[in-house]
Symmetry: C2
DNA sequence: ATTACTATAGCTCGAGTAG
DNA sequence: TCTACTCGAGCTATAGTAA
């Protein structure tokens, strides 16, 4: 099986019961810096204010978080060590669970013509660079819009909300802001590489799927409005 | 921030201290079925044989594992519930940590000509189908071999061992077996899409990087033996 | 060899409360 | 309000030991 991995295990032992507190802090954004009150934290971890307080103190003493207490709460931030412990556990879980996780979802939808602004957004340098950097392809200047109709696909689309995907940062340019979002690698009709793009603040609802691709999908697949398309979305 | 997610939290509370035992079981392959002895398990979780025994009993009672005890150990398997708890924690960690994780590694290497068997393997139907299915492209019948020289790249190459990547199953055909492996999406010289292929039982050591691509990389990038190539490997 | 019971030692929790 | 101390109750681990 696996070699006795004493490296990480000792650290886990040290967090012990406080692991869930550390996890809760991370979930609340503790990898950057957050403000919490001990009673808030207590509610989240399902224990008393006193326990939450003690956990923070001990996590700090053990070097997993830094903390600055004030009259109305504490500023808390996970240290490299704290993030490292969670990362170790994350890696173990990833290895152990990945074989049992679905590697892709299938979403079907009907091609329709949008307002043509897809091309505008895709070609903004702030987005384009990230697509090249993170997806590994130069996106065709335009998006393929699919309207999701069947219930199964809608469910799958909603499931995407729960996956982190590939982060696309927002930015400011041309005197306005361009919102953040995420994307997922995908395969259209089992043939052509593409990526699903999901803006966190979308003008389309969750029943529309926007795709970008290194090629002009409509031409490559001979698509016209109303055609049904199958998208395999890699998680 | 995040809505109070009472769904999963209750389950976590129930595992409590035994979370690390459950995690250790998962790490040892408990999502399928494994044989463990309580003293083995005790060593792995860093506690006594008695504690390990009790944890197994309680995890079973709580419905997280199934267990069958015999004279020389126990057969243990995580239940759907048990896997579900770990999956919940995995998801939380994924969301919390992904922004802090590197999304790619850079590996540099020198082009060299291999034994020409890359083409043979890539064109085996059992592999080819998986590449199309999981990578989304039809691989050019051949591989580009890179010899890794600098220490930094070697370190990065070794780090790949710790990432699950995209699983490639082994299979039997033509009266022999073709081994399993994994691959990673990659970008060669910041331009051309490719994938790093790592066989679990490789004839090359870890100082050689094998690449497949939808295009003939040597031609597309004008490469000849001895040229240095930069590979951005997406994790 | 195993698993796992019993009894005790030690640790963690939360109520009360101070600053 | 906030954080965080003290201390008794309860929970958890280990040693010894049986099957």
């Amino acid at each position: 099986m696996l070699a006795e991995d004493t490296r990480g295990l000792d650290a886990w032992k040290k967090v012990g019961k406080m692991f869930f507190t550390l996890l809760t802090l991370a979930e609340a954004g503790g990898t950057r810096e957050i403000e919490v009150t001990t009673s808030d934290l207590a509610r989240k971890i399902g224990s008393s204010q006193q326990t939450a307080s003690r956990h923070l103190i001990e996590l700090e003493r053990a070097g997993f978080i830094t903390r600055s207490v004030s009259r109305k709460g504490c500023k808390v931030k996970l240290t490299e060590l704290g993030i490292g412990v969670l990362r170790d556990i994350y890696m173990v879980l990833k290895k152990a669970l990945e074989p049992t996780l679905p590697t892709y979802l299938v979403i079907r939808g009907m091609v329709f013509t949008g307002l043509g602004e897809g091309a505008y957004y895709v070609t903004r340098e702030g987005y384009r660079k990230q697509f090249v950097e993170k997806l590994g392809f130069e996106p065709y200047p335009g998006t393929l819009n699919l309207r999701i109709i069947d219930a199964e696909s809608l469910r799958a689309r909603r499931e995407l909300d729960y996956y982190p995907g590939i982060e696309i940062r927002g930015f400011t340019a041309e005197g306005r802001t361009f919102g953040a979002g995420k994307c997922f690698r995908a395969l259209v009709n089992d043939e052509v590489e593409a990526a699903v793009v999901i803006a966190y603040r979308s003008h389309y609802g969750p029943s529309v799927l926007e795709l970008i691709s290194p090629v002009y999908l409509r031409e490559k697949l001979g698509l016209k409005d109303g055609d049904e398309v199958k998208v395999k979305v890699f998680l």
